[in-house]
């Protein structure tokens, strides 16, 4: 079929054609970028922490009337309270493991510092999160040890952080090891944490930092395990529940800790929570954003499809006589349907070319202002095909109706 009659007919509807082309182009540009954004958000919200999340529980609590000084006696008292809590938690039937743990991936409470290869901290510098805890922390989190060993019981220190007592041994995450020792020989080497030396005795595969904020996003898997129980008026613990007993452990732990010492604050909202609850809470905004974008995309595509249906319907109505003439001259119904399909393909084709261009521009703008990555061409390709298919789908109804125009219309006066 020759395109000539289609094009010359469209010339008579310049304004309408321009508008529908523009609409298709804008729709494609917005939908492509929005879907890319949705995918980014979902990917961000589902990346693994490195811990075995199912059955992992965090307890944050503060004692009332805990010793407030930082003298040795107060520290020892606080440490005894912490060890008593841990012993109680480990004795619970549904608890597989329990550990002192200042931080938890995603949870937000973060200690961080600067790692370097010399005490002057010159040259290579890596920011990392410090996870303070005891020898059970690594197994309780379920983080995979890929080299070296766990902390030994006699390596565990305890102090109220005053900045000068630092453990001589640490376990680092693989990204930290790779950044400081690109040759892959990190194990056994000495690193300087904020200027103070420590030997790497173990490497864990992956451990996300406790923060998901933008300021921490460039070092989001740089973590260091420190064999230190931090003593303060607040202490927090990590628990590993036996399979399927997560809910039970959360109830039992509260009861057991209050039985040990009722003078403590452990709010319902964040005192005891599972990592899956923490994850849901921390990524709520991302899920909400993804949902909103999805809804807008669907409505946008709906509006554009309805616009195509509406405009084509008008054109069909306007050309009833011409359609009748063509039918009278021997065109089959299928020819009429094909005519409108080709016409739509032509319009949508121009629309998607323009739209792809707009999408790329919009992406460039988003990259400049919202730190979005570059839009992969696959998204554009899928978007283009989807919009072309949408056009064909939308034009099907009016085209079918056009094909039902009887040839006899050609002979009528009006």
């Amino acid at each position: 079929m020759s395109l000539h009659p289609v094009i010359s007919a469209l010339r008579r509807h310049k304004a309408g054609v321009v508008l529908i082309v523009l609409q298709i182009a804008l729709t494609l540009a917005i939908v492509c970028n929005a879907i890319f954004l949705i995918q980014q958000r979902i990917e961000r919200a589902s990346r693994p922490t490195g811990a075995v999340e199912d059955g992992l529980i965090r307890i944050s609590q503060t004692w009332f009337g805990a010793p407030s000084g930082d003298d040795a006696a107060a520290i020892e008292k606080l440490d005894a309270m912490q060890r008593a809590d841990l012993a109680t938690l480990r004795a619970l039937p549904d608890v597989q493991d329990a550990a002192a743990s200042t931080s938890m991936p995603l949870q937000g409470m973060i200690y961080s510092g600067n790692l370097s290869l010399n005490p002057q901290q010159s040259g290579l510098n890596v920011t990392a999160a410090y996870y303070y805890g005891d020898e059970r922390l690594r197994p309780t989190l379920g983080v995979r040890l890929v080299a070296g060993r766990d902390f030994k019981v006699d390596e565990i220190l305890h102090h109220g952080i005053s900045g000068d007592a630092v453990s001589p041994v640490v376990i680092v995450s693989q990204p930290v090891a790779d950044k400081l020792f690109p040759q892959g020989d990190a194990l056994g080497k000495t690193i300087y944490q904020d200027g103070k030396p420590a030997a790497i005795v173990g490497i864990v595969e992956r451990l996300q930092t406790p923060t998901t904020q933008a300021w921490g996003s460039s070092w989001d898997y740089n973590s260091v395990l420190e064999p230190v129980r931090l003593d303060g008026a607040s202490a927090s613990y990590a628990l590993r529940a036996r399979p399927g007993r997560e809910q039970a452990v959360m109830r039992e732990a509260r009861k057991a800790l209050l039985a040990v010492n009722p003078l403590r604050v452990m709010p319902e909202s964040w005192g005891i929570q599972s990592l899956s609850q923490i994850r849901a809470k921390i990524y709520r905004a991302d899920h909400a954003m993804a949902l909103l974008m999805t809804v807008i995309c669907v409505i946008l595509l709906g509006v554009t499809a309805a616009g195509i249906v509406g405009l084509t319907s008008f054109w069909v109505g306007q050309r009833r006589k011409q359609i009748g003439v063509r039918r009278a001259l021997g065109a089959r119904k299928a020819d009429i349907v094909r005519y409108f399909q080709v016409e739509n393909l032509l319009i949508a084709g121009v629309g998607v070319v323009l739209g792809a261009l707009l999408a790329a521009l919009l992406n460039l703008w988003l990259m400049a202002h919202y730190a979005m990555p570059r839009l992969p061409p696959a998204y554009l390709l899928v978007g283009v095909l989807a919009v072309l298919a949408l056009g064909q789908f939308a034009v099907w109804g009016p085209a079918r109706r056009a094909s039902h125009v009887p040839p006899v219309v050609a002979t009528r006066a009006t």
Partner: protein, 482 residues
């Protein structure tokens, strides 16, 4: 019919309907067909308006599904964009209307030479020693040094469990500088603060909770294991965003207790917020304070005139030079003095997501408008015959143009009402979301007005091109061709 189209039968009937009307018009040029009018007409302007409105409604009714689509598209576009615009408007609001231009946030750079880059911003908070130095220098009209935290409160009542309250540790100029309104009592004095008194100003919500709203000045409240005497109760006061300390979350955060900073330093109460250290600085945990190589406090000043602000900036430079001469500072003076709105802007307080969603919503509105322009164009052009008849019967181009614009205005008005309802629904949805600004999302009067103006304005704009195109019909040609 195989394909269930909302336009199917309607469109065909509409076509015939137009021809029908046209035939009537030729046979008897009286209502319901258009009567003679235009330049020669003696119908008054307002009468014309009523008549055009009538014509518009007839035309819209003739093509119900199409009209519904146009109205729906406008309503969706307006609803989405107004929802997001309202959220943006609320979030970028001025926390201290009328005063924010006089309140400044001084920044100085006490860091060591490591990691220094030219033009790099100084730290976003101050160290304790610099904060106290600037406070005691007293060069501004008001100045306050502060930090945030939370303290356990023991109500010592049987019906209430111990709970945490959000606390602001500050020097007393905080209250007059930020126009915090007192319901009862007053702040502690500067001298009391220096003397580390255990006095507290509590928020109205806490006063309601603990004392049932009674004047509690002079009463004792036990926090962090210590007795505090209440000296003042603040009335409802919650600046949004929480500009003076953005570490707490920017929106819908309010402290329940205000404690003297010096007393907090003395008692080593727990802090929340961010602590940035350099060199061998220790961040301090629990009851250990951060070292002097750490910034962890906010320092705010009030400067009543631009001259004073300029002088204060000079002072900050001198202070930095002095500290460098003393060997404390290592870098060349690097100071900033932003007022509240500049500070919020610099901190990019409005969430990027909200800006992005607002942009998306307006993109969506644009597509909806283009869609409406296209549909109106088709609809108006389709009526070329009817318009030709009206032209032939003496209606001026202007009259036709007005008629068609009224038709698009009606669509805009109805779409606007729909958009308003959708925006109210959208804001309700926003309020159900778990973000810290959720509770703030309400439509105010100005946004209500903007919604309508935007809806009608946008649709009239959308109607301009189709209406102009449609009135270009030559009167006679249309009569002849059919």
């Amino acid at each position: 019919m195989f394909f269930p189209s909302p336009f199917g039968e309607g469109a065909q009937r509409a076509g015939e309907g137009t021809f029908e009307a046209q035939r009537c018009a030729l046979a008897e040029p009286s209502p319901p067909a258009p009567p003679p009018m235009g330049e020669g007409s003696n119908i008054q302007e307002d009468g014309m308006f009523g008549y055009y409105l009538d014509l518009a409604l007839r035309s819209l009714k003739r093509n119900k599904s199409l009209t519904a689509l146009m109205v729906l598209a406008i309503a969706l576009g307006i609803g989405a964009s107004m929802t997001m615009l309202t959220v943006l408007h609320v979030l970028s609001g001025d926390p201290l209307p009328g005063k924010s231009a006089l309140i400044y946030y001084p920044q100085i750079d006490p860091q060591d030479l490591k990691g220094m880059q030219p033009n790099k911003e100084p730290p976003e908070q101050v160290t304790l020693i610099d904060g106290l130095n600037l406070l005691h220098a007293g060069r501004a009209d008001h100045q306050a040094l502060m930090s945030g935290g939370s303290v356990p409160l023991d109500p010592q009542k049987t019906d209430l469990d111990p709970f945490y309250v959000e606390a602001r540790y500050t020097t007393p100029d905080f209250f007059p500088m930020f126009d915090a309104p007192f319901l009862f009592g007053h702040a502690w004095t500067e001298a009391d603060g220096e003397a580390k008194v255990r006095e507290v100003v509590i928020a109205r919500s806490l006063n309601d909770k603990l004392f049932g709203g009674a004047d509690s000045v002079g009463r004792i409240v036990r926090m962090a294991g210590v007795d505090w005497r209440i000296v003042g109760v603040l009335d409802k006061w919650r600046p949004n965003p929480h500009f003076y300390d953005l570490n707490t979350g920017s929106y819908d955060y309010g402290e329940q207790v205000f404690l003297p900073l010096q007393t907090m330093l003395d008692l080593r109460l727990d802090r929340n917020g961010s602590t940035d250290c350099w060199g061998n600085g220790g961040g301090g945990v629990g009851n250990i304070l951060p070292s002097d190589d750490c910034v962890w406090l906010q320092f705010w000043v009030q400067l009543d005139t631009p001259t004073k602000a300029a002088a204060y900036k000079e002072f900050l430079v001198h202070y930095s030079q002095e500290q460098k001469a003393l060997g404390r500072f290592q870098r060349a003076p690097n100071v900033r003095l932003r007022n509240v709105m500049q500070w919020l802007d610099y901190q990019m307080v409005v969430p990027g997501d909200v800006r992005l969603q607002t942009g998306l919503a307006f993109g969506f509105l644009l597509v909806c408008l283009v869609n409406t322009v296209g549909l109106m164009l088709a609809k108006f052009m389709r009526r070329a015959a009817e318009l030709g008849v009206r032209r032939a019967l003496g209606a001026s181009k202007r009259a036709l143009f007005a008629q068609l614009l009224i038709e698009s205005g009606v669509v805009g008005l109805v779409g606007g009402v729909g958009g308003l309802l959708l925006a109210l629904f959208g804001l309700w949805l926003v309020r159900q979301r778990p973000s810290d600004y959720a509770a703030l999302a309400h439509l105010d009067l100005s946004m209500l007005f903007i919604t309508f103006a935007l809806a009608v304005g946008a649709t009239l704009l959308a109607g301009l091109l189709p209406a102009w195109r449609a009135c270009q019909v030559a009167p006679a040609l249309q009569l002849k061709s059919n």
